[in-house]
């Protein structure tokens, strides 16, 4: 098959590189979602620990 002219070939080359970019962006988006979930888990953990500390201060014998 003869080489495609530049205007025709450009579409295919752009498509291939955009596929790579899209894959990378989707991966980063998924990973940032996971990071967000991890941050939420850490916030929850901190909140629960603070709540536990407050309860301990209020009623040390019961918590112990």
């Amino acid at each position: 098959m003869p080489a495609l002219p530049l205007d025709e070939a450009g579409k295919y080359v752009a498509a291939a590189y955009l596929v790579f970019l899209a894959l990378l962006l989707v991966y980063v988006a998924i990973m940032s979602g996971r990071l967000g979930r991890l941050e939420r888990d850490l916030t929850d953990l901190n909140r629960e620990l603070e709540e536990r500390d407050r309860q301990r201060e209020r009623d040390p014998e019961r918590v112990a």
Binding site: Y12, L38, L45
Partner: protein
């Protein structure tokens, strides 16, 4: 621990890939036969090589798990295979685009390189399913490691057999019989390959760091609060 040096690695990856693709479009000459379409080569081939090496690395990590029974090796194998699957998906799509531009067909079933790569991709597609089907974590890691070792050994054998195949229309990348690539093309290709390898290592470290941090948060939750929710649910992903 896996996050150490990640920023430098990410910077180096961005720099190498930017340099590689700048060279592809502004410096490297067009190939005589295929013309501008051949620029896909600098993306498609490094991605394929790195994906296949990632599968083999997964096999090596699986072997290390079987020797040591350390869960970290299972996680390393899982992340390497997972990333290689993503790259392999990219290889199939970009290869298909290149095939359409060069040969006039999206896919050729009588082309050994295309079909063998699809077989490797489909083989590894069952890895996640295998993992998810086993609830017991130790058994899951053991079976998945055996799979990773066997499939990891299959990858280079499969590649070698295809290279030796008689019926061959797929362009041979690093062939020596035709005199190889001109030096500009070879240099650009090597930089693109280094960039893709760095990208793989960066994402591997990033995902390892993320999974390791997640496992630490769960362990902390279980230790401090005795929370049952902290126990890992059934998943294909290994837990530390």
């Amino acid at each position: 621990m896996h996050g150490k040096g990640l920023r430098t690695l990410a910077f180096l990856t961005a720099l190498t890939l930017t340099a590689a693709y700048a060279l592809v479009f502004f410096w490297t000459p067009n190939e005589a036969d295929q013309g501008f379409v051949q620029k896909i080569f600098y993306l498609h081939v490094p991605m394929a090589i790195v994906a296949l090496c990632g599968f083999v690395a997964g096999g090596v990590a699986g072997l290390m798990y079987l020797r040591t029974r350390d869960g970290k090796w299972d996680l390393r194998a899982y992340v390497a295979i997972h990333l290689s699957q993503i790259l392999a998906c990219g290889v199939l799509i970009t290869g298909s685009i290149w095939a359409k531009a060069s040969w006039g067909h999206w896919w050729l079933w009588d082309e050994p390189m295309l079909v063998s790569f699809l077989i490797v991709f489909l083989l590894y597609a069952t890895y996640q399913v295998l993992r998810f089907s086993i609830e017991d974590r130790e058994r899951q890691a053991r079976y998945a490691s055996v799979f990773a070792v066997v499939a990891g050994a299959f990858v280079p054998i499969n590649f070698a057999v295809v290279r030796m195949a008689q019926s061959y229309v797929h362009p041979r990348t690093l062939g020596t019989t035709t005199g190889g690539m001109p030096s500009e093309m070879m240099l650009t290709f090597l930089i693109a390959l280094a960039g893709m390898a760095l990208l793989f290592v960066t994402l591997w470290k990033y995902e390892m760091a993320s999974k390791s941090a997640g496992a630490q948060v769960r362990a902390l939750r279980l230790r401090l609060l005795g929370d049952d929710d902290a126990l890992p649910r059934r998943s294909a992903a290994p837990t530390l």
